[in-house]
Amino acid sequence: MVVVSRTIKYADKVVPIAEIDTKDDTCLLGLRTDPDALLVSIRTLGLINPPLLRQRRDLKYQIVCGFRRIMACNALGLREIKVRVLKESFTELDALKLAILDNRSHRKLSVVEQAQGIQKLSAHLPRQNRLEMLSSLLGFPENQKVFKKIKALSLLPVVIQAGVEDEIVSFEAAVDLNGFSHEDSLSFFELFRVLKLSQNKQREVITLVQEIALREYLKPGEVLQSEGIRTILGRPELNKNEKGSKARAYLKRRRFPTLTKTEERFSKELKALKLNEHIKITAPPYFEGGPHKLRMTFKSLKDFNERRKTLDAMAKNPALKRLLEPFDDK
């Protein structure tokens, strides 16, 4: 754990809000300064906990802790507020560390805040021991792999980082998006906004689109804008879940056309066998070889004899031969 090695001295002051540079986000960790939740409390009780500021050389104040409080006061039309101004000459790095520790004193930082922290702190830290210092300050495991992922997140457009906080895109999927141009990553983000997909499915979609694009010499954004996807998204009768599975099926078919066709042929022949829920046939994985699997359930001798009849009928059904030879086009 990093310790700020001196006692922080500050002066209580009342300063005009106009003298605070609310656009200076040097010490801002999160993406939002949305003050809504604080409005009621400040209106009724006033500002209980004064924000911490640092005076810059141009004499304007920089916010170290308390962005949302200041935004709320501003929204409430207050002209002056009670603040604490750091007394000593704190460097930008010290102020940033202070802001981080202040946040961490009452909660864990979100991964997006950690990403912002990495981006803001890295420039100030020496290369040597950088990972150790960052992980200790921001509270993530000291591990290159984790670090790389969080750093990747920090390089994405802010709207996608916010999307991670809002759970529109999963953290892992967002990390995958880092390899794309901002334009393409935003196209993926737009898609994830309108589809309901689990983390794994989002990642699957990213891989499928990327590989289709590479194979067809297109940009990922062009694949996402293709007729097939647009048609699915434009169907009002489908909910987000249904759109998600249809979009995945479309991409899979485009990426693996022969495999998908074979799977469809297999399902068709399986249907033609008219099996019931007590008998199941599964093809070998990817039809690569190995045995088909037959699963049969029964409770009694009577059940067993019935299943046997079904199996006998199945053996005589020409669909079985076709099912076992899914590569024959006829």
Binding site: F256, T258, L259, T262, E288, G289, G290, F327
Partner: protein
């Protein structure tokens, strides 16, 4: 080419080391206690896989020189033996398995060949285990070592004076000069991997052109060597059928089918760990974006009907020009054999037997 020579201190006085140093006069040399120093040097490089192609480590082989080819149960294996003379390659194919096989890969040549020949003596004289085909082209390209260590000058005459085993030298180079004038007694097969010019251009950096390979093959044929060809990896891309058909035609206009001991067909397959490497090192390559599925051995392979389709066509084109040539699949199952060639190896005694018989016919080995 070679930018640094590392010498294992245990072999620094070996005559092969002196010969290599002589052939690389201006190259910086480091004598090191073991491979760790080479690993460290590579780890500091931006692209260690490429850098490993320029670092040559002369050392001794502590394990066996003769190894069984690592086949799997799920696919029919040809029963080949590997003569492990060294590792890695100076050429740079996008699909090269060696990029992911060694950690990290670098050029390594085993100078303690006294033991290699001792192992060969034991096997040739004892006839146990019984095998008839061995090759140096599994963990390296067989002919890249010629400029420095000239392994063919000792291996080819060695195999010439026995009649049990054929040596296959498999290459993508055209460096056959050292084979000229050697006593080979048809016990050395010179073999080339073939692919159309489009694949060579885009995926096989630093290899000889298709024409150069075929010219070298014709030259070896003229010197009396038996030949072999490997259409491996076959790669599916738009227009590939036309290209492969043309390649087959060019092959048979360059050399005579009678002198070909075998031709293998193998579609592109790769360990999943190779995919990110290809993506990173060959960003323009499209070969990993085919319709691949995980095979029974864990490697990614083209979806079976796609393989069968290309094999069928290749077999038909080859058969039309060389009806009697021994054609086989590298690591495929019975279904593929049946559908693409109309029979399974077991009907003809098994694949190793079929290949041994072809070696007996063309090279005079006694099986």
């Amino acid at each position: 080419m070679i930018s640094r020579l590392y010498i294992d201190e245990a072999v620094m006085h070996h005559p092969v080391v002196g010969a290599v140093q002589k052939s690389l006069p201006a190259i910086p040399v480091s004598v090191v206690p073991d491979a760790v120093k080479v690993h460290e040097a590579l780890a500091a490089m931006k692209d260690p896989i490429a850098a490993g192609k320029r670092m040559l480590f002369l050392t001794r082989n502590r394990g066996p020189f003769i190894k069984k080819c690592p086949g799997t149960k799920s696919y029919t294996c040809c029963g080949y033996q590997i003569l492990h003379i060294g590792t890695y390659c100076t050429m740079d194919c996008a699909y090269c398995i060696l990029q992911a096989y060694f950690h990290p890969p670098f050029l390594q040549y085993f100078v303690n060949q006294e033991r290699l020949f001792k192992e060969l003596d034991d096997i040739v004289s004892s006839r146990k285990p019984p095998f008839h085909r061995i090759g140096t082209g599994e963990f390296t390209d067989s002919l890249i070592w010629e400029p420095w260590t000239e392994p063919s000058r000792s291996l080819v005459p060695y195999f010439a004076q026995q009649d049990r085993v054929v040596l296959e030298l498999k290459t993508k180079t055209s460096s056959v000069e050292n084979l000229r004038g050697l006593e080979h007694n048809k016990k050395t097969i010179v073999a080339w991997s073939l692919n159309p010019p489009a694949i060579i251009r885009n995926e096989e950096r630093g290899t000889a052109s298709m024409r150069a390979r075929l010219r070298a093959a014709a030259q070896c044929e003229a010197w009396g060597y038996p030949l072999a060809f490997h259409f491996d990896p076959l790669i599916l891309y738009e227009g590939c059928e036309k290209d492969y058909e043309k390649l087959v035609r060019e092959l048979f206009t360059s050399v005579s089918a009678q002198n070909i001991v075998w031709i293998s067909l193998g579609s592109f397959r790769f360990m999943p760990s190779l995919k990110p490497i290809i993506r990173k090192r060959f960003p323009k390559s499209r070969i990993i974006y085919g319709e691949f599925i995980p095979g029974l051995d864990g490697k990614m392979r083209y979806f079976k009907p796609l393989r069968i389709e290309l094999y069928r066509k290749m077999a038909a084109w080859i058969r039309a020009l060389a009806p009697d040539v021994m054609l086989y699949f590298c690591m495929e199952d019975q279904e593929v054999w049946k559908r693409a060639l109309g029979f399974i190896p077991e009907d003809r005694g098994g694949l190793p037997r079929m290949l041994d018989e072809s070696a007996a016919r063309h090279c005079g080995v006694v099986i």
